[in-house]
């Protein structure tokens, strides 16, 4: 399956979308997969563990929800193997809301992905937050009708995921910490690497592709486009409206908020505030208004107190 850049994601592109020219309707094309991601832009995708939380998220203005059994903060505390959620719980969430419902599968667990596809999930997150099922291979995402989003810490990782069929990327951050520092690091890394690539000659790009362990063709498209060639959200540690707005100003297309909402003092209010903050990310006056009186934020963890094996962002290859 060939890669084609989503239309109008960036200006001044000279790509043509490949819509089937035989008049026959086609499903699950890359255009349709990236199309949903383009529609989610400027929005907040919230982690929810039951139908009630999903309704709170929808009323707050979430553009999608991520159905999972335990939010990352609880996975950290409780430990054990974290897996795909019970399909029954996902179905209940789907029943409760009209916005898209996403769910997570373990890295490399292609059967969990088949199961989620069969119950009509809208997007699959092949996620480092769950315990990996394969320490070498990610899922071949071209094989599915349902689109995938994957985490990345740097440009090479993002382009490898796109090469495997991911239709959307999210920077990993460090989930379940309430600490935005890793999200910033990953976003800045990707931006810096794209800026570097965009100044390179073709000869240099060959060598840079090798250095990043990225497919050359995708790197070349990225360099031309001056942005990731699919929609890129920020994730992992965002806990406040200011965190979300900062990630938007750093150039992401939207945000995932996991533990940050339902581990805080007043989830409904905080959720609304983060939604407003993502829309009005460049207006400090509005950001000040929505940041007022939100109650307690999630406590948060300093990343440097975590040992290497507690760092979720190191998972994925």
């Amino acid at each position: 399956m060939s890669f084609s850049i989503p239309a109008n994601l960036a200006s001044k592109e000279s790509y043509s979308t490949k819509v089937s020219q035989n008049g026959i309707t086609s499903q699950a094309t890359f255009t349709v997969k990236t199309g949903l991601a383009q529609n989610l832009k400027g929005g907040v995708i919230m982690d929810v563990v039951n139908a009630e939380q999903a309704r709170i998220a929808e009323e707050a203005g979430a553009c999608a929800v991520m159905a999972l059994e335990r939010v990352p903060a609880d996975i950290r505390i409780q430990g054990g193997v974290a897996r795909m959620s019970d399909p029954k719980m996902i179905k209940e969430i789907k029943e409760a809301v009209t916005i898209p419902v996403m769910a997570k599968v373990r890295i490399g667990h292609f059967v969990e992905a088949q199961i989620l596809e069969s119950i009509g999930i809208d997007y699959i997150d092949e996620s480092e937050v769950l315990t990996p099922a394969d320490e070498e291979n990610h899922i071949n995402k071209h094989n599915y009708k349902v689109p995938f989003v994957c985490g990345a810490k740097n440009l090479g990782e993002a382009l490898r995921r796109i090469n495997e069929g991911a239709a959307m990327i999210r920077t990993k951050g460090e989930a379940g910490t309430g600490n935005v520092v890793e999200a910033v690091r990953h976003m800045r890394t990707i931006t810096r690497e794209i800026r570097k690539a965009s100044l390179m000659s073709e000869e240099e790009l060959f060598s840079y592709a090798k250095e990043l362990q990225a497919p050359y063709n995708l790197l070349k498209e990225t360099a031309k486009l001056r942005r990731l060639p699919v929609v890129n959200f920020s994730a992992g540690g965002l806990a406040t409206p200011a965190d979300a707005a900062m990630m938007m100003q750093l150039g992401c297309d939207g945000v995932f908020v996991g533990s940050g909402i339902f581990k805080s003092g007043d989830p409904a209010k905080r959720a609304k505030a983060i939604v407003q903050a993502v829309t009005h990310f460049d207006d400090p006056k509005i950001l000040a208004e929505v940041s007022e009186d939100l109650g307690d934020a999630m406590v948060g963890i300093n990343i440097d107190t975590l040992s290497d094996d507690q760092l979720l962002s190191k998972r994925g290859w």
Partner: protein, 230 residues
């Protein structure tokens, strides 16, 4: 375009376009508008006062519930209704068409606020979940002329127009093929005066014919003597 030699009209009319930028694929519309010659500027709209500076508006695809909630909280709902009531050209794509409809079915629990204006009823999320999203080539009135230049229509968790509630509403396009349980005759694009609604996403293609048509509608609208922003 031919320029006239008239001293009083040396350049073709230029119009200011806005794209509602609360959530969704607004940047894609802006990128497309920026390449059309009669468009002097295409700006994202997030505040009521910005609405007063534009001649025509596009409400993009995204989540209609999200956009309606943010619009309400940002004090934009009434100004948007006024914009449409004042007959300023407005085009809604997908979620944008839902917001422009006077009635919507299959809305979230507790209902959904709409801008209204288009005298139609829409069914939200007609086709099912994302795996039922699709692309298809369509005949569209005023846009396509033969079977050789059909329009590439991309339907993402798309709505359809389940009924037309006024004779002022013109049907521009139908599905043409049965999709799942949805009949081929289902209406997917309409026009009512200077209001336009499409269930699909022209901004997710590189085909700018509907964008140009909307710009033309805007030009015709203001040429018939209605005041515009200078």
């Amino acid at each position: 375009m031919v320029r006239t030699c008239n001293d009083f009209q040396q350049v073709q009319p230029q119009f200011k376009f806005g794209v509602l930028a609360l959530q969704g694929a607004f940047q894609e519309h802006i990128h497309m508008l920026q390449n059309i010659s009669q468009v002097s500027s295409a700006i994202p709209i997030r505040k009521a006062e910005q609405l007063e500076t534009i001649d025509a508006l596009i409400i993009p695809g995204g989540e209609s519930t999200t956009m309606a909630l943010i619009a309400e909280r940002s004090g934009l709902m009434e100004p948007l209704r006024k914009f449409v009531r004042d007959e300023k050209p407005t085009w809604g794509t997908c979620a944008g068409m839902i917001l422009l409809a006077n009635e919507a079915n299959k809305v979230k629990k507790g209902g959904q606020d709409l801008i209204g204006g288009l005298n139609i009823t829409v069914n939200r999320n007609q086709f099912g979940s994302q795996i039922d999203s699709f692309e298809s080539l369509l005949h569209i009135n005023h846009i396509t002329t033969s079977s050789d230049d059909l329009f590439p229509a991309i339907f993402i968790r798309a709505p359809i127009i389940s009924s037309i509630n006024s004779s002022n509403v013109e049907v521009l396009a139908r599905l043409e093929h049965d999709i799942g349980e949805t009949d081929a005759s289902s209406i997917v694009a309409v026009r009512q005066g200077s209001l336009l609604g499409t269930a699909f996403h022209p901004e997710l293609t590189n085909d700018d014919r509907i964008h140009k048509y909307f710009v033309q509608l805007t030009q015709d609208h203001y040429n018939t003597g209605k005041g515009r922003n200078e």
